[in-house]
Structures are given as structure tokens and as C-alpha cells.
Amino acid sequence: MATIYSEQKPPAASPPWADENAADEGARSERTRLRLPAWLPWLGGRVLSGLATAFVISILVFAATQALPSDPARVILGPDATEASIRTLQAQLGLDQPILVQYAKWAGRALTGEFGVSLDSSVPAGQIVADRFGNSAALMAVVLAIAVPLAFLGGVALAIRRDSRADNWAMNAIILFKALPAFVLAIGLILLLSTTVFPILPAVSLLDPEVSPLLQPVYLVLPALTLTLTVAPFLLRLVRSAMIETLEADYVAAARLRGIPERRIVWAHAVPNALVPVIQGIALTSRLLLGGGLIVEVVFSYPGIGNALNAAIEVRDVPVIQAITLTMAVGVVLINLLADVATVLVTPKLRTSSRPWLRNGTRAKLKLKAGGV
């Protein structure tokens, strides 16, 4: 109380800069532009945490492939290898050194993209990843380019028509597609579209390696359709529930009472606020796409990174397995990082606070709400 009634210095009649001349104007805008954004420390912490995650992931991958009780040399050469050849391969893989030395050497090489030579085809493992990664990235880009707008528009439309007959039917269809495993869907689509019922699309993706997969759309249709059907329902439901929650907020009711047209309320007031769960949801689907993508790529023989991993696991090609799993896991970490940054940037409350704090388990909650990934 005292502070309120105690005599205070009257505020300057005008802000200090009001009477400054135009020359200072430039300097001031310079200053505001140079002032660091409030969320920068958070970004630093988030990047550090991401790096630490990547470090632990590298340990996990290394442990699973080289340090587990099973001897990789024995696994690679099979049960009837001679002792001498096992010893040679052990020396070649560096398995005779202490485990920490092995890890340090391996991690050092992995940082420069050097994973050793593939045991199967004597091509550098990094090269294989780079070759196949483009194909998978093209497939994923197509899937996201179809699924995200579809889910967004569909989710908003269903949220507006909530509990109508169309909404009910759409939700039932979503439960159906969400439940089916990716390879069940893939085989269903093959049966429907390339063998018995309508033989119009190729069941196997025989891509010409010289040409970008985006220029050979015939082979992309079925894999992309399968992945879209597994990913879009999840995203659509996320958008729908986020929109329903937003449309029930007080400020939307206030906007309606003020007589603002409904269309404007939905697109200008509600949609930007329903964006956060959608961003996090897209990040979650990346994980879904990588895991489901592996099986879909195998079903359609699509020459992507998942198919390469499957082939490498079949012949126990340790360097390639390490390179691909590490790339995938670090890729997921990177996507999560980007999603968190985007979330902070689109939320004014988080953007302007010095300690942006993504709510506890935002992702876990989303997962529950959308019925999981």
C-alpha cells in the first residue's frame, strides 16, 4: 500500500525519445533490432539438451551394435566361422581394443559422416545413407505435402460441424485407419489397386536411380497413399480436438457477441491458436513416418533408407546399420527441436517470456488426446 500512496516521481511528461530528432531515430531502431530476443537463452538450453540427447543416442546405438555381449564378428560371420577369421575381422573392426577407445574412435569418425566401409558391398556406409536418403526424403515430403493440408482443412471443417452426421462418419473412418498397421494397409491397397480389383498401379517401385523419384510419380502413388492414410487420420484428429477446444474459449464467444462474421472468427481468431498442437503433432508424425516408412518401403521395394536398413540387418552389415539408425534418431531429435522452436515462435506468451516453458509433457498429452502415434 505504502508504495502506491508514497510520493512518486511524476513520469516524464513525454517519453525521453519523443523530442529526439530524426537523426536519432535510426540509432534507436538499430538498438531495438540488436536487442536479443527474450527466448534466446531458452534456445541455447534447448540446443544443448538436444546435443546431449544425440550423445546418449550415439551411445545407445553403439552399445546395441558393438558393445552388447554378442560379438559382432561372430554374428557377422555366422556360427561355422573359424577362430582365425573371427580374430581377423575383430581386428578389422577394432573390436580387440578397450570399449571406451572403440567408442571414442567410432564417435569421432561418425561426427565427420565416416562410418566405415559396408561389409556387404564395400561402399562407404555414409555413401549408402546419402544415396538412399534422398528417395526417402522425397517420399516423406510428398506424404507431408498431402497429409498436412488435408488434415488441417479436414480437422477445421469437422470441428465446425462437430457431432453432425458427417463428423461421426469421419471419426469412425479415422478410428479404422488409425488402428490398421501400415503393412496391412499397404497389402490391402496392393490387392485393391494393383492386382485383382483394379490393376492400374505398379505394386513394386522400380525407380530409375538416375532420375529424381518426384519425376516418376507412378511409383510414388501407392507408398505415398499408404503413408498418408496412416498419418493423416492422426493429424486430422489432433487438429479437430485442438479446434474444438479453441472454439469453446471465452474470446471466441466474445468475438461472436461482437458480431464478427463466423468465417473470420474461425480463420483469423481460432486457427492461429490451434496451431501449437498441430506443430507438435507434425513432429510426432515424423517418428511415425520413419518407423512405418520402413515396412512400407519393404512392401513396395521402394529404394529408401528403411529398405536399406532392412537389407543391412538381414546380412548384419554393422557399419550401415549404425549409420542409418544414428541418422534416423538424430533426425527425429532435430525435428523435435525445430518443432519446439516453432511452438515458441508462434505463441506470443512463450515468445516474450525469458523462460519459455513448454507445458509438462505437451507431447505426451497430445499423444493421449489423439489416441497415440
Partner: protein, 299 residues
Amino acid sequence: MTSKLSALRRDPQARLGLVFAGSVLAMALLGPAIAPQSPLALVGPTYGLPGDPGALLGYDYLGRDVLSRLLAGGRSVLWMSFAASAIALALGAVIGIAAGLSKRWIDHAVVWGTDVLLAFPDLILVLLVVSMLGREPWLIVLTVAVSFVPGVIRLARGVTLGVVSQEYVEAARLMGYPWWRVVLLEILPNIATPLLVHLGIMLTWAVGVLSGLSFLGYGVAPPAADWGLMINENRAGLMIQPWAVLAPVAMIGLFALGTNLLAESISRAGSRIGVRRGVKSRARTQMRGKKRRQREKQA
């Protein structure tokens, strides 16, 4: 609880889910007993079409009876799914509740740990371990469970944090109950619904992952009958004998759909009742009883 169950029984979606999942389960359990042929016997032509009176679904790529293999092949994937989901639920719930109740830094460390594990797509973590350590069933079950645990931890921790700050937990603590009693009688009953829903969802995933795993050739070893394996074996003959692939695909899809429908309707029933009417608690009831008795005594 009874009202929840009756609400569930009236829900047509829950009934449908129960019928789907239940019939697949019954078929997998009773199937080996009623199979007309041995699942391993070569009894017909390669990729023989259905048409013989003995073979309703035709023969597979070696000439084995598809129907018998279908009836025999459900047990492996179903028990492994149930085991993996149950282990993941138990392990994740214990760790998650512990994290929600413990000090801030332990909590943060656990959440960060789940972040690390969540960076591996489910199937890839499992593939990585199975390819290096072998394909024993218990190993596969354990790995799938481990890949599901982070999700359960996050969920259990989140709902625990929501419950711990409630008055009835505080009341129970003030009444001097030991911590295990608070956890078992106050916290656990109130976070059971989301965990149960998650169990249903995990079952759906587990069926997908495990049948996918044997589809890729890392699950049950070849001569045995298994739905995922059957799809893989007969894929080459899809044009000639589609039934050999379609039948196991339909079983897997039906079971996944059934568990998912059940989970959905449990989640809806839970959100209808639990939150609105307020959660009853043993401690609160006892306190009310004490107050009433005191009042009666005074009167």
C-alpha cells in the same frame, strides 16, 4: 465403477470392439484344437485355390492348408502383444508415478530419458536389438515393451502430477497414511482410466509391431505358423492365391480395430464420468463419516 461399466456396455462402439477383438482372441485360443489339418503338413498343390471341400481358404506356397495355419498362427502374436503391453504398462506406471512424486531434478531426468528413447522409431529400436541378439520370443517381447515404456512413463507421470495436488491426496497425507497406502488407494484408482485406455492403444501398436516384425522375417522362426510370417511367405503369390495373404491380414486388422474401438470407448466413458462427478476417495468419505458422526453425537 459399475456405472462406468454399464455405460460401456450400452456403447455400441464398445460392443463392436469387444465382438471383433473377442472373436479373434477366441479363434486364436481355440483354433489349434479345431484346425482340420496340421499347420505344418503338406496336403495340397502349391498356391492351390480354395474350392476343395477340405480347404476353405486354399493352400499356401508349399501346399499347406491356409485355414489350419490361420487357426494355429494367432497364439504367438497375441500372447506376445499382451505380454509386451502388460510389461510396458507395469514398468512405465511404476516409474512414471515415482517420477511424478519425487524431487524435481529426478523428475526432469526421467522425462529427458524418455525423450532419448522416443527419438528411436519403435520398430527400429526393436529391429536393432533383435538383429544383434537373436529372435527368442521373450527377447522380442522385452524389447517391444521397452520401446513402449517411455510413452507410459510420460502418461503416468502427467496424470499423477494432476492427481497429487488434489485435496483428497493431501487429506490422506495429513491423516498420516503411509506413502504406499496413498499411492495404492488414492492415486492409483484415479489414474487407472487413462492407463487402461493406453493399454488398449498399446495392444493395437503391439499387434502392428509384432506382426510387422515377423512379416519382415525377424519374429517367429519359419516352419511355425504365424500371421505376419504367413503374409510374408505368400506375398509372392498374391496374384495367384490372394486368400493366403488376405486371411491373416484380415485377422490382424480385425484385432487391431477391436482393441482400438474398446480403448476409444473406455476413454470416452472415463472422460464422461471421472471428471464431472468428482472423484470419490476413501479418505474423504471417512472424514465425512467422522464429521457426520460428531454432528449426530452433538445433536
